[in-house]
């Protein structure tokens, strides 16, 4: 009897289990299975595999989708980033720097309502800078060659979409980045550190966290352990740029980073 049956290949049996056959093929397989109980048992098990997989994971597709997976919101975030109007930003940055440096220390209580948390972040950024800029082979966790992966990974972990500032005009190229643990008592979550290097092998790091709980705007320039740190905070992020460049160069780099990281969908700045 079996000699006269159509050749039933593995592909046909798989197609049967997955419901991918034409009527004719299905009839041929059914006829074959009637005289091959071992194969029939195997196919029955395959179909139970299908049921088990559907039972395990099928319901995931009916779960409510979290907002962070809404393509419209993701695209809007990107559009806001690319619509960045930097001449206005530059003007705002200049104003901020002017205010920051003219108010002086007596303005600190006004400018830094979360002073302690900001100071902790600045210290953490400086400590991390000092630790990792000395590294040759292990300076970063993920290198700039995997930039897309690096940025989406860090964005996910600090829960803020970040892009790496372009510092090519200052002669600095991205080396890569790493994830750092939350600074104790800062309540800012984990930090992303991006490292840049110029042709003279001088390094600058950018230390970014999600906003502090109060989301207040702050701006500070600190020198600690012979390292300069430019720090600012807004309702989206905190960022500290650390380096030991000549002051003018350091300010230019910090301003570039500030301009590129502090974007608003409406391109308006919240005044200090």
């Amino acid at each position: 009897m079996s000699d006269r049956e159509l050749e039933v290949t593995d592909a046909l049996l798989l197609g049967f289990a997955d419901g991918r056959l034409t009527d004719n093929e299905r009839v041929a397989v059914e006829r074959y299975l009637a005289s091959h109980p071992d194969k029939a048992a195997e196919l029955a098990h395959w179909q139970r595999q299908n049921e088990a997989l559907q039972a395990l994971f099928g319901p995931v597709a009916s779960e409510p989708v979290p907002a962070r997976l809404d393509p419209h919101l993701i695209a809007r975030g990107r559009a806001a980033n690319s619509n960045f109007r930097w001449p206005q930003m530059a003007a705002a940055a200049v104003v901020l720097i002017a205010i920051g440096s003219s108010i002086g220390w007596f303005g600190r209580d006004v400018l830094l309502p979360s002073e302690t948390a900001s100071d902790i972040l600045i210290e953490s950024a400086i400590t991390a800078h000092a630790l990792f800029v000395k590294e040759k082979r292990h300076a970063v966790e993920v290198a700039a060659t995997e930039k897309d992966h690096l940025l989406s990974w860090l964005s996910n972990r600090i829960a803020r979409p970040i892009d790496s500032p372009d510092l090519a005009s200052e002669g600095f190229a991205l080396v890569g980045g790493r994830l750092l643990p939350e600074s104790l008592f800062s309540n800012a979550g984990p930090a992303a550190q991006l490292m840049y290097e110029n042709a003279a092998a001088e390094r600058v790091t950018v230390y970014i966290t999600a906003a502090l709980p109060d989301g207040a705007a702050a701006y500070e320039f600190t020198t600690l352990n012979a390292l300069d740190a430019f720090y600012w905070a807004n309702d989206a992020i905190t960022c500290t740029v650390v380096g030991d460049l000549p002051e003018a160069e350091m300010q230019t780099v910090a301003r570039k980073v500030y301009q590129q990281l502090t974007r608003r969908p409406d391109a308006n700045y919240r005044a200090l």
Partner: protein
């Protein structure tokens, strides 16, 4: 915006596939978010005539494989919670495969077989599209599916209905 609407329509399937690949809800959603960001960034690379969902699956798999390699390099481990908690599922009925057992069996499959089987069985992707998404010839896909099915049967076969066998 039609592009984004179409992507939206695929998000539930992407989440389901990512969840089955990782068996970790948070990690799965991280992968999907990463996938969507890449898709939106690379929007102009997508030819509107091709199947969008297949393209998205392809991106998701790339993200998943990169992530997997990174994790191994970093020695990143799953949290104890993830390892200990089996999906909340009813006890198996007679003749069914115990779902906890199936979940572990899927995890034990070689990655290439798991990726292929879940695409076809869970996502209902055609053999042709699945081969395209995985970047392998149709014959290779079929042999991966066969091997995956055989392995799952070995790993979960104990709860099979008893079958009469003639004894010599």
């Amino acid at each position: 915006m039609q592009f984004l609407d179409e992507i939206s329509g695929s998000v539930p399937a992407l989440r389901r596939y990512a969840r089955a690949l990782t068996r970790n809800a948070d990690r799965a959603d991280d992968l999907v978010q990463d996938c969507l960001e890449r898709a939106i960034r690379k929007q102009r690379l997508w030819a509107p005539t091709g199947p969008l969902q297949a393209w998205l699956f392809k991106i998701l798999l790339n993200v998943y494989r990169n992530d997997f390699r990174q994790q191994r390099r970093r020695g990143d481990h799953q949290s104890i919670d993830t390892l200990l908690v089996e999906p909340a599922v009813p006890a198996p009925q007679h003749g069914r495969i115990a779902l906890g057992e199936m979940s572990r069996a899927i995890d034990a499959l070689p990655a290439d077989q798991r990726e292929a089987l879940l695409l076809v069985v869970l996502e209902g992707v055609s053999y042709e599209d699945a081969a395209g998404i995985l970047g392998i010839p149709a014959g290779t896909l079929m042999s991966r599916l066969s091997r995956a099915r055989a392995a799952l049967r070995t790993m979960t076969g104990v709860s099979e209905e008893p079958r009469l066998r003639s004894v010599k």
